[in-house]
């Protein structure tokens, strides 16, 4: 029962850690807009965490520039399990208009397993919330599966 409580809670309090991997700032602003009174993602328990140690969902924006790649991976690795990785905007998925640039080494999925992609340039807040909600479900799944794999 206690385990179920934890799993349930996992779905109700996902904390976000936001990594900007060379984004144009459009997605960053939209992510913050999701937390404003109009969309208020906090009603779903979302909260911006200051440190990756406390996060459950990592939101990556930007086309993963060469400079940022090791930092991104390092920060992601510091997020405790179970964790979920969400890319936001087209950049981390395809490189968007930056594709082919010498300094861009995306997409992110080349390096880590990405759980949710939220496409768009920039994605609408509704889409972001939808994506985050999906990530939350995956988080719960991960928690359950880890447990199942254990036994």
């Amino acid at each position: 029962m206690f385990d179920k409580l934890i799993t349930e809670s996992m779905g109700k309090s996902p904390w976000l850690f936001h990594i900007n991997a060379g984004s144009c700032n459009g997605c960053d602003i939209e992510l913050v807009a999701v937390l404003t009174p109009r969309y208020d993602a906090e009603r779903l328990g979302f909260k911006l965490a200051g440190s990756p140690r406390q996060a459950d969902i990592v939101v990556v924006t930007g086309p993963i520039t060469k400079q940022s790649l090791p930092r991104v991976l390092r920060a992601i690795s510091q997020v405790p399990e179970p964790r979920c990785i969400v890319t936001m905007g087209s950049c981390p998925q395809s490189g968007n208009v930056f594709r082919g640039s010498y300094s861009v080494c995306g997409p992110l999925s080349k390096y880590v397993h990405v759980d949710v992609d939220v496409a768009g340039c920039t994605p609408k807040p509704e889409a972001v919330i939808e994506g985050l909600a999906t990530a939350t479900k995956i988080l719960m799944e991960k928690r359950k599966n880890r447990k199942g794999g254990q036994e």
């Binding site: 109700k12 208020d40 009603r43 328990g45 200051g50 440190s51 459950d56 179970p82």
Partner: protein, 337 residues
């Protein structure tokens, strides 16, 4: 036989009320109400009131990462000590007429016991070796320094007023302070105590580290400061002890300034045993409602309307405005007003 009953009674005090279970439930609930209130004041829907519970249980299920640079023992034990000290502190604060453990600690001891949870966070943060934690603990310590002076003055003036009235000159026992209020009405109705109560209202957000006095855990600039390296269970324990701190500070305010409210119930309690138990529950309920009101006034409202202060502004604010208020109170109490 009576020893066993006494033992069970004290165990119940420690584990259920006003100990662990009560702290756990009402602390987190207060925290949730605070978040909801802030959201409503900002025209948001806000998280569910049970959100802190979800956060707590979620953190219990997360992986606990201990950084390689950390002193493992201190890093993991510090949160537990902090929580334990916080709950013990709650045991010493009387709930109107009910006082689980009297004769153990007076107000000066309580002043120091308030330091222990903060100190344990500081030590835990220091042991992680993170520079963000270093900055955070520096700010936390300055916050403690800032809050301590007005808090001392408030407690001394309360001690003086009650002592004057009781004819002993000074009274440090929290039980006596509350008992005095039960018979003579709340202290906040005294002219000399109004500035002290105002100062105490300003001290509560500083002690609990909420807006605008949260320079120590500024999540946007120094990555949660002292908690930067904490994850999983220790973080859950910290969040819990922070929530209990909200409860402790507000019940302390109730005990110091609003203790008289339980007076009527007190007399009703005398009449019958069943009525007594019922009244006791009502007392707890009233206490909780008062705590909620206090949180609404001095934490949620202030949080919703202010921005974060820089640490040296915070210090200056406490050592001028708040200390001034408390000092007025002390001087008035000294001359018997």
């Amino acid at each position: 036989m009576s020893i066993i009953i006494d033992g069970l009674k004290y165990l119940a005090y420690i584990l259920i009320f006003p100990g662990f279970l009560f702290c756990f439930l009402s602390g987190l609930l207060l925290c949730g109400i605070d978040r909801k209130l802030v959201a409503r004041m900002q025209k948001r829907v806000g998280p569910p009131i049970l959100q802190p519970f979800y956060d707590f249980f979620k953190l219990l299920g997360k992986e606990t990462i201990v950084p390689v640079t950390a002193n493992r023992t201190v890093f993991l034990i510090a949160p537990l000590v902090g929580l334990a000290a916080q709950v013990v502190l709650q045991l010493f604060i009387p709930v109107f007429s009910f006082n689980a453990f009297h004769g153990v600690a007076d107000v000066i001891v309580i002043l120091y016991l308030l330091l222990i949870p903060a100190l344990s966070v500081i030590l835990g943060a220091a042991s992680s070796g993170s520079p963000y934690s270093g900055v955070g603990l520096s700010r936390e310590m300055v916050t403690i320094l800032a809050v301590e002076l007005p808090l001392v003055l408030v407690l001394l003036s309360v001690a003086k007023v009650v002592g004057n009235a009781m004819g002993t000159g000074l009274c440090f026992s929290l039980t006596d302070i509350v008992n005095y209020q039960l018979t003579h009405g709340s202290l906040i109705t005294k002219l000399s105590m109004i500035p002290a109560a105002a100062a105490m209202l300003l001290i509560i957000p500083g002690e609990t580290g909420s807006h605008p006095f949260d320079a120590a855990e500024a999540e946007t600039e120094i990555c949660e400061g002292m908690l930067a390296e904490y994850s999983g269970k220790p973080l859950a324990v910290y969040k819990l002890s922070h929530a209990v701190k909200l409860l402790t500070m507000t019940t302390l305010f109730v005990a110091l300034f609003l203790g008289g409210i339980g007076g009527g119930i007190e007399r009703a309690m005398m009449t019958s045993a069943i009525g007594g138990a019922f009244c006791f529950l009502i007392e707890i309920l009233i206490l909780f409602l008062l705590c909620v009101c206090l949180v609404a006034v001095c934490i949620s409202f202030v949080h919703a309307v202010t921005a974060r202060l820089r640490i040296e502004q915070l210090f200056k604010y406490y050592w001028t405005v708040v200390t001034g208020l408390a000092l007025i109170s002390l001087v008035m109490a000294w001359y018997g007003l």
